[in-house]
């Protein structure tokens, strides 16, 4: 992929992860599956460090729940500041899209 597009794409990871748990809590494998589904495949090796950073920054929280097989899972939810950050990103994204659409006219 074009390196310019790759840089844009990298910046999208965090907002997409936040958006993936906007309406319902998910555990990491479900977040990975959701990202894959929309055409943004990300591996756990990338996802776990990011999720732990987001938790440290207070944007997501997790609760443990038993899984049918294997160890309990961490289900992630957005915190209030996580929601605020996602809203802020959407506003900014909208503004940027507006710019690129209108500047040349």
């Amino acid at each position: 992929m074009d390196s310019k597009l790759a840089a844009l794409r990298r910046g999208m990871l965090e907002p997409l992860v936040l958006a993936s748990i906007e309406f319902r809590r998910r555990y990491t494998a479900e977040i990975a599956a959701a990202l894959r589904e929309v055409g943004f495949p990300v591996q756990e090796g990338t996802l776990y460090p990011l999720l732990n950073k987001l938790r440290r920054d207070g944007l997501v929280a997790h609760e443990w729940q038993e899984s049918p097989a294997g160890p309990p899972r961490k289900y992630l939810t957005l915190t209030t500041s996580g929601r605020a950050q996602l809203a802020e990103f959407r506003d900014y994204w909208g503004a940027l899209t507006g710019m690129i659409e209108t500047i040349g006219r």
Binding site: E44, N52, R55
Partner: protein
């Protein structure tokens, strides 16, 4: 028949049967992950998360194949999980907190006696066989006196498990260790 090992992963109650080569491959992957997460304050947490996920995948492999996980299967599981990428900038772990820096210790990995020589070699970045040669020569020259020093160091120096662990501690901010 290749020798089978049983290894444990965080969160999983049962040990996983893996071949020797697969075991080595997994250890390499985890060591690389730890190196990548050196500057990450949540590195340990991330490693635990990864181990739990790897365990889920290995369990699925074991259930479908029955036998111990072989090297090819392990490679596939690790590719699926992907290389670990920290989201904290490397080399700037947390501004304002100085790194611990080099320190004296004794190291268990590859020790002959107390691991003092391994520790000295790691601390000074010397070659281990040279350090050992010098110590043995000193032993002869000082008629065993250096042996007493060695024993004293054995009591005084903190113990570190591996050279890699030493490097990780050295490159981690003080208050984070």
């Amino acid at each position: 028949m290749e020798s089978t090992k049983h290894m444990r992963l965080t969160g999983h109650a049962d040990a996983f049967a893996v071949t020797h080569a697969a075991h080595e491959r997994l250890l390499r992957y985890l060591a690389e992950a730890r190196t990548a997460l050196t500057a990450d304050p949540d590195g340990d947490e991330t490693i635990r998360d990864l181990e739990a996920t790897l365990g889920d995948r290995l369990r699925a492999v074991l259930e479908s194949s029955g036998g111990p996980v072989d090297d090819t299967q392990m490679a596939r599981v690790l590719v699926e999980t992907g290389p670990v990428q920290s989201h904290h900038p490397v080399g700037d772990p947390s501004p304002g907190r100085p790194l611990r820096g080099p320190f004296w210790c004794r190291i268990e990995e590859g020790k002959w006696f107390g691991g003092i020589c391994v520790g000295i070699a790691a601390r000074g970045e010397f070659r281990l066989d040279w350090v050992r040669t010098v110590v043995v020569l000193l032993m002869l020259v000082t008629a065993g006196f250096i042996g007493l020093v060695y024993l004293a160091l054995l009591l005084l120096l903190p113990r570190v498990e591996t050279v890699e662990e030493y490097r990780r501690l050295r490159d981690t901010p003080r208050s984070a260790t």
